[in-house]
């Protein structure tokens, strides 16, 4: 027997074995309807598309739409008044057109009206789920202006635009909501959410997906797990988030963020800002009210705060710039660098240094295992109290300042190089030095105490900060489409008409 014959025999045997193997695998492993169903609830394989349309007259005015779907998208747009138009696109996953058509004929579009409520869906539940077929039902709906939409969808993208209000529950795909005149309630699981131009309040719950909001006029309450959040031009924001970064721009009200395991960045908050997080940094820019930040294992940076600032941080530092109100900080294992504190400060730090460059008002600083450097820049008018264990204290005295001085070094030296100081040294000590007296005409108390050296030096007086505290640059979101507020129910349809289904030609798809 020649080599060619042997080779051909091997090819045929291998081919037969492959076919048998494929057949057995398909028969014994449930991989989906006549093809392959993969994760995420999508069907793959040869498919055929069929279409059905229906329309139903409703009473003039806003309509209440109740839309239910699974394994397919829901797309709602604004249509003509007094009529709801629905197009159902049926995508059937079958190997042949004949089989697909047979199944498609059994998939019905159902549009019913009851006391002003228009229910839109299919008979998917009656057909049941079987392993030998799969199909998607995509609903495209033209709703009368100012309709209220209630959507329940699984395994399909939901797109909603130009309605009066929306209540959406979706899963395993994303949700897009645009131009809603009043309130929006959204619950999405395993998919992202994109919400733009909402005229009312927003309540959102999301699991496993990113969330983006923009132009939300009312307040927004967000509960998010495993996804990042980005907002632009919103009302007051209340956010609870477990695993994802938060970026908020232009918040027209209070910002409250309770985050875990990620970073928070907010700019232009017109109200107060309250942020709690861990294992991520916090950055605040231009806050109109008080700011309160609590971070574990993360850096804190804040600038241009019109109110006071209260911060707790650990295992990283705090950096402040231009704060108008009083500052209160507690930092463990991290430094504090602050510039332009106009309302005084109370600072407790351990494990690193404190630098206050430009401040007014009373200052009280305690540092453990670190040093303190205080440079008021402007004439001292409030009490300055600073102590450092295992470190030194430096104070720069602007010209023209007057105060009562008490400076003590437990193990080092006290150096005071300022004109106009009348003070006496305590000469009878075995260790350290103490200096007590009056600078100029006296005034507030300056008490400095350190294990290391205490240094007092004169500097020319300047402004507390190089620039004034900036206000938040918030602008009101653009108006959402005006419409009357949605009611709980609408009047019955004046002349309800039966649905008029119409089938169209099948089109082969490829996926």
């Amino acid at each position: 027997m020649s080599a060619r014959k042997i080779a051909l025999l091997i090819v045929i045997v291998l081919f037969a074995a492959s076919v048998e193997t494929a057949w057995n695998v398909r028969g014994n492993v449930s991989i989906g309807p006549e093809g392959c169903r993969v994760m995420g609830g999508r069907f793959y394989g040869p498919s055929w598309t069929f279409e059905t349309t229906a329309e139903r007259a409703v009473a003039a005015g806003p309509a209440q739409l109740e839309i239910g779907n699974a394994f397919g998208g829901v797309h709602v747009v604004k249509g003509a008044p007094g009529v709801v138009k629905v197009r159902l696109r049926k995508v059937v996953f079958m190997p042949t057109e004949d089989k697909a058509k047979e199944l498609a004929d059994r998939i019905e579009l159902r549009v019913t009206e009851d006391a002003g409520h228009v229910r839109i869906g299919t008979n998917r539940d009656e057909l049941g789920r079987r392993d030998d077929y799969g199909f998607e039902t995509h609903l495209e709906i033209q709703a009368p202006p100012d309709s209220v939409a209630r959507v329940r969808s699984e395994h399909g993208k939901v797109e909603l635009a130009d309605v009066a209000a929306a209540d959406v529950q979706a899963s395993f795909d994303g949700v897009t909501i645009e131009r809603v005149a009043h309130d929006v309630t959204l619950e999405v699981r395993h998919g992202g959410a994109d919400v733009e131009r909402v005229g009312g309040r927003l309540q959102l719950s999301a699991r496993h997906g990113d969330v983006a909001l923009s132009d939300v006029t009312g307040s927004a309450k967000l509960d998010i797990q495993h996804g990042k959040l980005e907002t632009k031009q919103t009302g007051a924001l209340e956010v609870a988030l477990a695993y994802g970064d938060v970026t908020a721009e232009s918040v027209g009200g209070d910002l409250v963020v309770h985050n875990q395991h990620s970073a928070v960045s907010a700019t232009d908050v017109s109200g107060r800002a309250e942020v709690t997080t861990s294992f991520g940094g916090v950055r605040l820019e231009r806050v109109g009210g008080d700011a309160r930040v609590k971070v574990e294992h993360g850096h804190v940076a804040a600038s241009d705060v019109l109110g006071g600032f209260t911060g707790e941080a650990s295992f990283d530092g705090v950096e402040l710039e231009r704060v108008k109100g009083p500052v209160e900080l507690q930092v463990q294992h991290g430094s504090v660098i602050a510039r332009g504190l106009e309302g005084g400060a109370r600072v407790r730090v351990s494990g690193d240094d404190v630098t206050l460059d430009g401040f007014a008002g009373a200052v009280d600083v305690e540092v453990e295992r670190g040093s303190a450097k205080l440079a008021p820049r402007a004439v001292i008018r409030g009490d300055v109290i600073a102590s450092a264990t295992h470190g030194g204290v430096e104070l720069e005295v602007p010209d023209g300042s007057g105060f009562e001085l008490e400076a003590e070094s437990l193990r080092g030296q006290v150096e005071a190089d300022i004109a106009g100081l009348h003070a006496q040294r305590d000469e009878g000590r075995r260790h350290g030095q103490k200096l007590q007296g009056r600078q100029g005409a006296g005034g507030p108390q300056v008490r400095l105490r350190a294990d290391g050296d205490v240094s007092i030096a004169a500097r020319p007086a300047r402004a507390v900060a190089e620039s004034a505290v900036q206000k938040p640059r918030t602008s009101s979101p653009p108006e959402a489409p005006a419409s009357p507020a949605p009611k709980a129910s609408t009047a019955p349809a004046a002349k309800p008409s039966p649905a008029h289904p119409a089938e169209s030609e099948a089109k082969p798809d490829s996926r």
Partner: protein, 67 residues
């Protein structure tokens, strides 16, 4: 190459390739299901090959008889 002028295995291989291509195209067009068809009818390739070998043998014998 046999003395009869054609190679049974070459013809078999070519015919099988043509058949496989035609069936694959029809399956993609949704006219038939490929896998059950192949599973049922693949032994026909052996029948075709065997028949062609018999024809080749017959042709060679008759050729030897004439010479």
């Amino acid at each position: 190459m046999s003395r009869s002028g054609f190679s049974p295995e070459g013809v078999t291989f070519g015919v099988c390739l043509v058949a496989l291509g035609v069936l694959g195209t029809l399956a993609n067009l949704g006219k038939l299901e490929l896998l059950p068809l192949l599973r049922t009818y693949w032994p026909l390739s052996l029948v075709l090959w065997g028949a062609l070998e018999l024809v080749d043998l017959t042709l060679r014998r008759s050729s030897r008889g004439r010479s």
